[in-house]
Symmetry: C2
Subunit: 314 residues, 2 copies
Amino acid sequence: MITKAAIEEAHQRIKQYIHRTPVMTSKSIDEAAGCSVFFKCENLQNVGAFKARGAMNAALQLSPDQKKKGIATHSSGNHAQAIARAAQILGIKSYIVMPHTTAQIKKKGVLAYGGEIFECDNNIAARETMLAEVIKKTGAVEIHPFNNYEVMTGQATAAKELFEDVPQLDFLLAPVGGGGLLSGTALAAKYFSPSTVVIAGEPAGSDDTYRSIKSGKIEQAQSQTIADGLLTTVGVKTFPIIQEQVKEVITVTEEEIISAMRLIWERMKIVVEPSAAVPLASVLKSKEKFKGKRVGIILSGGNVDLERASKLFA
Amino acid sequence: MITKAAIEEAHQRIKQYIHRTPVMTSKSIDEAAGCSVFFKCENLQNVGAFKARGAMNAALQLSPDQKKKGIATHSSGNHAQAIARAAQILGIKSYIVMPHTTAQIKKKGVLAYGGEIFECDNNIAARETMLAEVIKKTGAVEIHPFNNYEVMTGQATAAKELFEDVPQLDFLLAPVGGGGLLSGTALAAKYFSPSTVVIAGEPAGSDDTYRSIKSGKIEQAQSQTIADGLLTTVGVKTFPIIQEQVKEVITVTEEEIISAMRLIWERMKIVVEPSAAVPLASVLKSKEKFKGKRVGIILSGGNVDLERASKLFA
């Protein structure tokens, strides 16, 4: 469905609106992990997350009529900012449905980009009901955070860049929530670095993808994790790609996520959100598998309330 | 005393042992500051601070006989790690006198590089007494954190790189503690970008450089600040250079330092220690002066106990 050419075209389309984020390495993390880790720093991306890619790719393909009505989405955070930013760049309106539990920094981000926020309860039914109302009222086009081929294609460009910058990766890990980043990453590997094995990192407290691959059908997320970017259940468009391309999901505990997050902050001197630390936690948990290998990791985002992070490190 | 050629030679000498750190920018910080700020990210340097430069430059110039005895220093933190790392690279011993109040992360860093730590009380007399004893016992060569021309020359290479990467800076700010970074930065500007005005940022709670420039002689630091890299009094070797080259010292409060530090963590997604946030705090305090200008800032380091930082952000 998503072709190699589609990813290449998406990359051209969004290039001027996103950062080509740096790849960082850390000697001390390599020593701790027993392998060579290459971090694709999407925490340094616009809006502080890879989500800027997919949102921009989708928004740039709206028709003039659609643009007049604006765009809408529901999101726990990073996609929300990405949609608001894409709308601001295009000079159109954006309507964002967010759970009231969303980190303040993410709400502030949406407002700063001129997005209009509609708060709802922190469950998927409440989000969808509220979004349907907003769309009914405004006529805006929904851009779903992950269950959208243009969004998935945009997210694939992060891994494409990593493959261009770091050849011969044995493994590439991405976190999985709804599966937009993971499916895009898996397709990028298939087309641009077929020898690279793509593995997902997932919180044990929200291991729907792990269970879905086992059972062969989409299982619901139980959503008990500090990795607030990974609370959602894998989508009907992302899951088939993940099922075909991703051979393994490594699940990690909350303690393992916090410990990996601390390692990244302390050793690399960069701020990542808990979700972004899940792949490193997965590598540290499965050292034998990665021993001596070249391992890519997509650091998905850096949007974290410092007060909240403080409590994790206290 | 320190020539242009000396800085160029130092840069060649240490090049293979240090990172050429990136220059980062932030649209939202530019908007907050009203000018274009270019951050030289020495928090991403080896040992997490610019100190790797000066220590390496000094250590590489030891005689074979001196190397046999090893190197020693007293330091509240980053220079300590830099000396231990330089010694480890050269395969020699290092002896580090540290106040017992030093952040754990800095002590761990020294031990990881094979340095031997001698703890003392947190005042300059206790440090110097302990260091004299260590040197008497071991015959090690002292490499002072700032009052050392080879160290100062090494620190100058950070600004040299920034000038190479970002032409036509109107201003360049560095924090000032003992003055090693500031004197090196001022000399680099004199030789490599003479139209750039060098300004120091200093905590009001340890404003010895501000007072020293006013009075024309070295005044003692009162050392009441969370910026633990800036507790020391400006040195007899650094002060004359600062006096000649640095026209202004901007002093900032503890609240201003924390606020600037938070801005860097939240917006740039990088970890900096309080000392490193002092120049941005200075720019934000004096917006009129910098309005519309191109402003360089040396982000001096990123070594901060996350527990300690947590309390600042709580």
